[in-house]
């Protein structure tokens, strides 16, 4: 329940005492957004799983480039490390916004590394002839991994805004908590996509 909702309840019941906040509006909004986003990716995974089962042969289909499982494992590790850095930043933020600066910057850097490495991987795959139009394999790969990449980019923008706020010494717990939640979502979603699409 949001702060304003609690305040509304207090007014309705005639209570004048101040109640503690349960969740900032930014966090409540972000949670609802994440629920919608989980369903967005669930639909992709569902369609991919059924189409892959219909292929009835090895995956990727013969003649199609193999996905770089090992190189992406390193990227996966970097993204998970970024999530750990975000967790440390959240813990440090309780001591004061400026304490979160270093781990937040580490989280940003690791997230950017993941995105750049994924981009490089895409360039290599396009060079090998795997495009959005060549096959179902290519279509699903670019659709699912590309959608996640866009979410990583959005998450990095949110982290950069949180970092700018921390850098100025401004206390904005709503912004920080919303960026943190979105980043956790992006980080935790990736291993599921990696295992489903690459393996």
């Amino acid at each position: 329940m949001t702060t304003s909702a609690v305040a509304g309840m207090e007014r309705a019941s005639g209570e004048q005492t101040r109640r503690p906040n349960v969740a900032p509006n930014a966090v409540a909004g972000m949670l609802i957004f994440i629920v919608a986003e989980v369903m967005f990716f669930a639909a992709f995974i569902s369609a991919f799983t059924i189409d892959r089962a219909q292929e009835r042969g090895p995956w990727p289909p013969p003649g199609q480039p193999r996905l770089p499982i090992e190189a992406t494992a390193i990227n996966t590790f970097a993204l998970l490390a970024s999530g750990v850095a975000m967790y440390l930043a959240a813990r440090a933020y309780r001591r004061g916004p400026s304490a979160a600066r270093a781990p937040l910057l580490a989280s940003l850097a690791l997230g950017a590394f993941f995105l750049v490495s994924q981009g490089r991987e895409w360039v290599e795959l396009i060079g090998q002839g795997l495009t959005l139009r060549t096959s179902l394999h290519g279509s699903f790969f670019y659709l699912i991994v590309g959608a996640h990449g866009l979410h990583v980019l959005s998450g990095l923008v949110a982290l950069a805004l949180a970092y700018a706020s921390v850098q100025r010494g401004k206390d904005a717990p709503g912004l920080f908590a919303a960026a943190k939640l979105f980043w956790y979502f992006v980080v935790l979603l990736w291993p599921a996509l990696y295992l489903r699409v690459y393996w």
Binding site: M1, V6, T17, R18, R19, P20, N21, V22, A23, P24, L31, I32, V35, V38, M39, A42, A43, I45, S46, T49, I50, R52, A53, Q54, R56, Y93, R94, P173, F176, A177
Partner: protein, 83 residues
């Protein structure tokens, strides 16, 4: 009467599911299995998400109320910082 009607309806639905196997999507056992798994996945995921949100909201609300009561009894102001 209602229970009987419900059971009859359930039986019809279960029997009709066999007719659905004739669909092009379910032409092989692998596809059938994938279809059943993804139906369960797409049905249970939103329920789990919304249920999780509700449970988390109720738990936070109760914790906040407990903290509020504790601070009210103490005579000091309740904490409002939510980092």
């Amino acid at each position: 009467m209602r229970a009987g009607l419900g059971a009859a309806l359930a039986a019809v639905v279960l029997l009709a599911a066999h007719a659905a196997h004739a669909d092009q999507v379910c032409e092989s056992p692998e596809t059938q299995a994938a279809f059943v798994k993804m139906t369960a996945f797409m049905s249970l995921t939103p329920l789990a998400l919304i249920g999780g949100l509700i449970v988390a909201a109720v738990r936070r609300m109760r914790a906040a109320e407990r903290a509020h009561e504790l601070f009210a009894a103490d005579g000091s102001a309740a904490p409002t910082d939510e980092r």
